[in-house]
Amino acid sequence: MAKKNNKKGIGSIFAGLFRNQIFIPLAALLILVVFNLIADPSFFKITLGQNNAGDPILSGNIMTILNNASELAILAIGMTLVTAASGGQDISVGATIAIAGSVILRILCGAAGPRPETMQAPIIVAFLIACVVTMLFGAFNGALVAYFKIQPMVATLIMFTAGRSIAAWINNNQLPVIKDVSFGYFGNYIPGIPVPTPVFIAILCMIIIALVLKFTNLGLYVQSVGINSHSSRLNGLNPEFIKFITYVIMGLCVAVAGLIKVSRISTINYSVIAKDIEMDAILAVALGGNALGGGKFSMTASILGAYVIQFLTTTLYKFEVPSDALPAYKAIVVIILVVMSAPVVREKFGQLWKKIAPEKAVKEA
C-alpha cells in the first residue's frame, strides 16, 4: 500500500511538474548545463585572477553568464508585470535604455563638454534623474495603453522608433566618455570585490521585487486586472491605474539596466546600446511560461528565463558557432523552448507522462 502510494506520488509529481510554469526554464537550464558538462566540463571552472588594476576577480563562464544576464533579468521583472497587467509588451525598452544612459552621461558631463576630466555631478544624482526621465517615458507608454486603450506594442512603438534619436539629441549627438574609474564600478568590478557589480544589482532588484510582491498586493492586483479587468473594477480596483503603474515600474527597471549598460563601457553608442534587448526580455517572459496575453505570471520563471537566454548565448560563443549561423542556432533553440513552454504542450506532456507511467494515478484512487 505504501509502495503504491509512493509510485502514484511520483507519477503525479512529474505530471504536476510538467504543468508547472517553472518547469520549462528549469529544464532548459538543466539541458544546457548537462550539454556543457558533457562537451567540456571546464565550462564551469571559476578561477580567481587579477584584473589590470591589480584587484582580485572571479572569472569563468558562469561568472560571465551571471554578469551579462543582469540587465536582462532586471528588465524581465518589469516586462513580466507589463505583460501580465496589459496583455502586451513594451518594445521600447532598448530605446529607453539609450535615453537613460544618455541622461546619466549628460548629467555627469555637465557643462564640461563630452569628455570631462572629472564627473560634474554625483553618480547617484545622475542615476536618480535618469530614473525620473525613464519613469516619465514609462508613464507616457502607460498612459497610451491604459487610458487611450492603444495596443501596447503599437503604443510603445513610438518610443521604440524615436527613443534612440532622443538619446542622441540629449547629448547633442556627441559621444561622451567618462574617464573617472568609479563610474565603471556599476558595470564592472568594485575594487576588492571579486564578483561583478551587475550581479549584485540584479540580486538587489530581485530582492526588492520579491519583497514588493510579498508585502504589497501588486501581484494580486496585476493578475486580477490582467485576467479580467471588468470584474477587477467591480471589486474596487482601478484597472487603468494598475496597467499604467506597471509601465512606470518598467521605466524604473530601464533606468537601472541603463546605468549598468553605460557603466560597462563608460560611454554610449546610441544606435547599438541595448539593441534588441526588448526582444530578449519578452522572450524571457515567454520562456518563463507566462502567457503573453496577460493574466497569471511567475516572476521567478521569467527571471530564470533571462538567465537561460544568457546561458544559451554564452554557450554558443563558447562553441564558436560561425557568425552567420548564430541567429539560426538561437532561433532553433528558442523555437523549441517557446513551443515547449506553451501551456497546451505542457498539458500534453503531463498527459503523456501519465500514460507512460505504469499506474493510472487517478483511477486507483
Partner: protein, 329 residues
Amino acid sequence: MKKLLSLMLAVAMIFALAACGGEKAVETPSDPTEAAGLIKVGIINNDPNESGYRTANDADMKRVFTEENGYEASFAYSLKNDEQIAAAQKFIQDEVDYLLISAAGTAGWDTVLQDAQAAGIEVILFDRTIDADESLYVASIVSDMAKEGQTAVDWLASQNLETYNVIHIQGVMGSSAQIGRTGALDTMVAENDNWNLVTQQTAEWNAETAQQIVQAVIDSGKEFNVVYAENDDMAKGAVAALDAAGISHGVDGDVIIMGFDCNKWALEELLNGNWNYDGQCNPFQADYIDEIIDGLENGEAPAEKVVIMEEKGFDATTITQADVDQYGI
C-alpha cells in the same frame, strides 16, 4: 532569437515608421533670395544620428557647402530610400545645379536620375554607390572598405609576430564595412600557416557583445595575441574584457588591439598606448566634391568616374595629438 521576434514586429513597424519618420523634412536655406553666382546644390544624406561617422560626414558637408564658398545648399535627411528619392524629385523641381546623394539603398534610383539628367542637373554620389547606369552620374566618391581592411592587415603583418592568434570581431554580417574589413584578414589567414583565427564572431557593432565574445575566449583558456575588431566600439568592449581578466594590451602589451573608424576617443586610446591601430573610414568627402564641382564649372569632366578616398591607418607609436584633432570624428 531576436530575428524571430523582430520578424513579427516588422510589419507593424513599417506602418509606424511611415507615420513617425519625421526626418525627411527638407531644410531650405535660410536666405531664399537667389544671390547671383551661387551654385545651387541639393544634398541628400542619411540621418546624422545614425552614427558618429554620419555626424562627422554631415558636419563636413555643412562646413564646405556654404555661401562663403559660393554655394546655396539644401539638405534632406532620411534613412529610407523612397523618402530620399522623393527629396531628389523635389530638388529637381527646385532646379538645383547639382544633386549630391548618399543613398540609403542601392536600388530604384534610375528614373529620378534620368529626370535629373533631362533637367540638366549633374549628379554626384558620395559615400555609397547605387545600382544604376554609370552615365546617370558624373562621379561617385566612396570609401574602399576592402582597401581599409587590406591596409590594416598589412600593418598587422608588418609587426612581424611569430604567430598571429587573432580574435576577429565582426560587424553586422553582410554590411559593406564588415565584408570589406573581413575579406583581407580571411585571405591572410588562409594563406599563412602562422596566422590563426582563435574565434570569428559577429558582435553587430556592439561593445558589450564584443566584450562577451572576448570573455568567452578568455574563459576557455585559449591563447591569443591580436584583437581585430571591425569598429572602435567593439574594440573598446574587447579591451574591457581584457582589463577584467588582467591581460595587458596596447603598445608593450601582450595583445594587439585594432579598431576602425577613428573616433576621437579611440585615437586618444592610441595616443595613450592602450590600443595599437585604428583604421580610418574617411567621412570627409566634401572637399573632393567641391573640387569636382569646381572642375565642372570650368568645363572639365572629372578624370575618373569613381573616386576612392584616401584613408589612413594610425599606429599608436606614431600618432600625434594633431592627428587626433584632425582625423578624430
